[in-house]
């Protein structure tokens, strides 16, 4: 057993770090404040070929695993780009797994190369106003018609929909009450975001404001049968394939924000002189930062293990869930402590830690809430009765 990254992973991490850090905190503060999509940053990573890191080589990608993709996103978050930097690309990195695994050759050829080079932006349409954690309650419906489907429904919290050309959409093709099991009767589609039939409304929100999330209204939208991914009725099963990698990647993003926070806090604690000495000399300042370091390092071990297991083809549900829980918790605590370390200045935008704090807060809600992770562990690891 060893814990070292491979030389390749080290080089990739160094490369990602260097490119990500060429965009300063002020860049992100401005994008966040103005609500502007960070195109320069996106294009730099697209031109460097980073977006296809996990897409198979036969489609122009790098063919690497979730471990390498995780390092990339962690470094982006840790550079100060935070969730703004990660959210513009993590869907390209892991969201298209369903097409790699279940898409038709024609669909793969159409989508994957342009996703790998960054020219195609795809968003993910799963959650609905009355179906968040319980996906089986979705009501967006794709009715079978001659040559395809007619889709009606409403989605919510669809990140990047306004800057995407396509959406991977899950819709019912059989009503819940008519399906043998609640998880049956849903299908996945890859649809064009045709604004004649799809209305998008950005949701004003607490943080990560360079990248909008939307309410999506789909009205009488015809899509051809070729837009369906895989078999009809198996959409939920396909979706499940993506949950663990999503949790693993976002765990690393949370870790990255925690690292950025701790870096800022530590520097400030060394430089800020009060009562003729650096404030970091006070244990009241130093100990919580030391604790944040311990929590981040411990969470990192679980996140790396989850990624490693996924890439080895081993079951990784418990590890992916625990990694998400630990990293979200450690990242948020580090961000909170960074504000505390900065004192009143921590509340000022100029010091950036308030932005990290706002962004790290999302990680305790998404992609799965901390509470649902505890439910998962209670039920699937400890074997306790299901509580919901």
């Amino acid at each position: 057993m060893h814990f070292e990254l491979t030389p390749d992973q080290e080089q990739l991490r160094a490369g990602a770090r260097e490119l990500a850090r060429s965009f300063a905190d002020d860049y992100w503060a401005e994008k966040d404040q103005k609500g502007e999509f960070p195109w320069d940053f996106y294009n730099a990573f697209a031109e460097g070929g980073w977006l296809g890191i996990a897409i198979p080589t036969e489609f122009g990608g790098g063919g690497l695993g979730i471990a390498e993709a995780s390092l990339l996103l962690e470094e982006i978050a840790a550079s100060g780009a935070g969730m703004n930097g990660c959210s513009i690309m993590h869907l390209t990195i892991f969201g298209l797994n369903t097409i790699v695994k279940h898409g038709s050759p024609a669909l793969q050829k159409e989508i994957l190369p342009s996703a790998a080079d960054g020219s195609l932006h795809v968003c993910f349409g799963v959650t609905e106003p009355n179906a968040g954690t319980d996906t089986t309650r979705i009501t967006t419906f794709a009715e079978k018609v001659d040559g395809g489907y007619r889709i009606n429904g409403r989605k919510v919290w669809i990140t990047k929909a306004g800057d995407s050309q396509k959406m991977i959409l899950i819709a019912r093709t059989t009503k819940r009450e008519e399906s043998a099991r609640p998880t049956d009767g849903m299908s996945l589609f890859l649809i064009d975001i045709d604004r004649k039939h799809i209305d998008l409304r950005a949701i004003p929100k607490m943080g990560r404001n360079a990248v909008s999330s939307y309410e999506v209204f789909i009205d009488n939208y015809f899509v051809p049968e070729s837009a369906r991914i895989g078999e009809e009725g198996k959409g939920f099963k396909y979706l499940l394939d993506g949950l663990n990698p999503e949790r693993i990647l976002l765990a690393h993003e949370a870790l990255g924000i925690g690292r950025a926070s701790l870096e800022k806090a530590t520097r400030y604690a060394k430089e800020r002189i009060v009562f003729d000495r650096p404030i970091g000399q006070n244990q009241g300042i130093a100990f919580p930062l030391a604790e944040a370091q311990i929590r981040l390092d411990a969470a990192e071990l679980m996140a790396r293990k989850a990624a490693w297991r996924y890439d080895q083809g081993l079951p990784c549900g418990p590890e992916a869930n625990m990694a998400k829980w630990l990293c979200a918790d450690a990242g948020f605590k580090a961000a909170d402590q960074a504000i505390q370390t900065h004192g009143g200045m921590g509340y000022a935008r100029e010091y950036h830690v308030e932005r990290y704090f706002r962004e790290s807060r999302i990680m305790r809600l998404a992609p799965v809430s901390q509470e649902m992770v505890l439910n998962y562990v209670s039920q699937h690891v400890l074997g306790l009765p299901k509580s919901y």
């Binding site: 030389p7 080089q11 160094a14 490369g15 070929g49 980073w50 296809g52 790098g62």
Partner: protein, 261 residues
């Protein structure tokens, strides 16, 4: 164009640099090591010349095993191949010994153009370009802020940075060109560049492989000796200019004295 570019692994620019207590060589073990930042400009310029005129870029470095990281970075940026001169006996080589070793390696590569940076951030000698040119018997164009190669006419011309502007100088090829950081904006290694780097040819040479005489390199062959070293004094507080109606003039005088204006 067959271009050779020299690179060096140095302690991270921002790290506090120390000398090893036993032999007063640069302590490379207690700090992160990176490619000398100035060398990135050299690599970038070599790549640009290659892109314009075709050919091949060979990276040459001398340094411990770990210096292979710096080679890999240059290969990730787009260089084609590399030579790594590494041997315990080279430890402690001074500038003269290093230039002798590098010149020996470079001469076997028969380059049309050798690019160095103006200095490395560890020792800051800034003499390697000149030493190499002397040893190889080639013309040297240093402090270049712009390089123009004309392979047809077999010449290279540069804008050489001077205190009050620049001088246009040219030389026949092969030549040694030293570049400054004003010359370009080094590219970042791309994802594919990083993945491709490990498949590029890397020749590792020992001192014997390179035909170096053990006594002429390393601490044994050094012509200079570090007798004593002191840590840098803590930074002094700045100069305070009191404005008595002539503050602007005093500030201007200060800046002029520092050659900043």
């Amino acid at each position: 164009m067959n271009i050779v570019v020299t690179v060096k692994q140095v302690p991270d620019t921002w790290a506090e640099k120390k000398l090893d207590a036993s032999d007063k060589t640069v302590d490379r073990k207690s700090v992160d090591n990176v490619m000398n930042e100035m060398d990135e400009y050299g690599v970038e310029e070599a790549l640009k010349i290659k892109e314009a005129h075709g050919g091949e870029v060979t990276v040459v470095t001398m340094g411990p095993e770990k210096a292979v990281e710096t080679i890999r970075k240059a290969l990730s940026m787009g260089a084609d191949k590399a030579v790594h001169l590494t041997d315990e006996s080279l430890h402690g080589s001074d500038a003269l010994a290093t230039s002798a070793a590098l010149a020996k390696v470079i001469s076997t590569l028969s380059p049309d153009l050798i690019i160095t940076s103006s200095e490395a951030s560890d020792a800051r000698g800034g003499v390697m370009g000149a030493l190499l040119a002397e040893r190889l018997g080639l013309p040297q164009l240093t402090q270049a802020r712009k390089v123009t190669v004309d392979p047809g006419a077999n010449k290279v011309s540069v804008e050489r940075l001077a205190d009050n502007g620049y001088a246009l100088v040219e030389a026949t090829l092969p030549a040694v060109v030293g570049v400054v950081e004003k010359i370009n904006q080094p590219r970042y290694p791309s994802f594919k560049g990083i993945m491709a780097a490990k498949k590029k040819p890397l020749t590792k040479l020992s001192a014997a492989d390179a035909g170096l005489d053990a006594g002429s390199v390393g601490l044994a062959g050094a012509t200079s000796t570090v007798v004593d070293a002191q840590p840098a004094p803590p930074r002094q507080s700045g100069t305070i200019v009191k404005d008595e109606g002539d503050g602007g003039a005093k500030v201007a005088a200060f800046l002029a004295a520092q050659k900043l204006i």
